[in-house]
């Protein structure tokens, strides 16, 4: 699915170099959209099979290997990256890769998927922007419920 935001970004024609770690459901979609916008994207993924799920029109690179190994990130040219996105299903892995990215390769912008809500604070303390699906879901629920209340009581008018 292509959102209006993506269409807008496509017109601006940004050209950042982004490394996406993990080619699961989240990583795959993020990488595909970023490449569609026109970013230079490399996906780092441990299992070659996962990469076969990439859409036909994905225009970017793939590096096969374990991102917690420094050599693998080097092969993905992490020192040139403007943005690192870690999307594996394991918080410790995401944390470790994010830290290597920022401390060793000097990537200034690091975004990470954080599965467990309790870990968000730890990520943020280390300068990693954390995206927690659970928090996002709860926030969305809350907003929808409040909107429902406003509609029911007529305050929303």
């Amino acid at each position: 699915m292509v959102t209006i935001e993506v269409m807008k970004l496509k017109q601006i024609n940004y050209r950042l170099y982004v490394i996406v770690v993990g080619c699961g459901r989240v990583g795959l979609e993020v990488a595909a959209r970023l490449s569609y916008i026109g970013f230079d994207v490399t996906i780092v993924e441990k299992s070659p099979d996962a990469l076969s799920a990439l859409p036909e029109d994905y225009g970017g690179f793939t590096t096969i290997g374990d991102a917690t190994e420094r050599d693998v990130l080097k092969r993905a040219k992490a020192e040139k990256a403007d943005l690192l996105i870690t999307t594996t299903g394991d918080d410790p892995t995401n944390y470790f890769v994010s830290l290597i990215g920022s401390k060793i390769f000097g990537i200034t912008n690091v975004l990470s998927l954080v599965r467990s809500k309790e870990n968000v604070a730890l990520f943020e303390k280390s300068g990693i922007r954390a995206i927690s699906p659970i928090s996002l879901t709860i926030d969305t629920f809350e907003r929808s419920i409040l909107e429902g209340v406003e509609l029911a009581t007529g305050d929303g008018k």
């Binding site: 170099y17 994905y58 225009g59 690179f61 993905a76 040139k80």
Partner: protein, 207 residues
């Protein structure tokens, strides 16, 4: 406007190269996924640039380049690979004009490499031109044959230039084959969009 052929077995890299090259040079590159198809296309069509991976489905990239050169195709080649060893690069260098770009790369890096190769091509074209002129106008027997060989290389490095046709016309005229000479002059005029004609020692137009 340039004609580019992209050879890579990885679908995603092909997508990317086609996208980047068409963005940077306003053209529509052709793409194939193996060396066999690439060689077939190169027999029929002329390109200004070919990009190829080192690892291909059928034969390896270096062998592909070697076969191209053996068939008299001297198109500039950009090798794009993540795994090229120094040995690979050294053996590829024999088949100049050639350059190497390691994966992953950004659009700007790719653009720079392609520009460099096209510049180099212009330089070598000019050197060949001076050499061919020298042979055409010398009266040593056998020099016309040498000139013809050089002009054939010029054809393959700049297929859309009228200059090799003009030169071929002169060579054939000197040999007394007026009919064929006229054909080449006609072809030259058809390619010569600005109708500059050709005079000995002229500067080459950039495309």
């Amino acid at each position: 406007m340039i004609d580019v052929l992209v050879v890579d077995d990885e679908r995603h890299v092909r997508n990317l190269l086609v996208k980047m090259i068409s963005n940077a040079f306003e053209c529509t590159p052709r793409e194939v996924q193996n060396a066999e198809d690439a060689l077939k296309i190169c027999e029929k069509e002329k390109f200004d640039l070919i990009t190829t991976d080192i690892k291909l489905e059928d034969i390896d990239g270096i062998e592909f380049i070697r076969r191209l050169r053996l068939r008299g195709v001297f198109t500039p080649i950009l090798i794009i690979s993540a795994y090229a060893t120094p040995d690979d690069i050294a053996s590829a260098c024999r088949f100049a004009p050639i350059d190497y770009l390691s994966k992953p790369f950004t659009q700007d890096e790719l653009k720079k490499k392609i520009k460099g190769l096209l510049e180099y091509r212009k330089g070598s074209f000019e050197r060949y031109l001076r050499e061919a002129e020298g042979f055409i106008h010398s009266n040593v027997p056998g020099d016309l044959d040498k000139a013809e060989q050089i002009v054939r290389i010029m054809f393959s490095i700049m297929p859309s230039s009228p200059t090799p046709h003009y030169l071929m016309g002169e060579i054939l005229e000197k040999r007394g084959n007026e009919e064929l000479a006229e054909l080449h002059r006609k072809a030259a005029r058809a390619l010569d969009l600005n109708e500059r004609g050709y005079n000995r020692g002229d500067e080459i137009e950039t495309d």
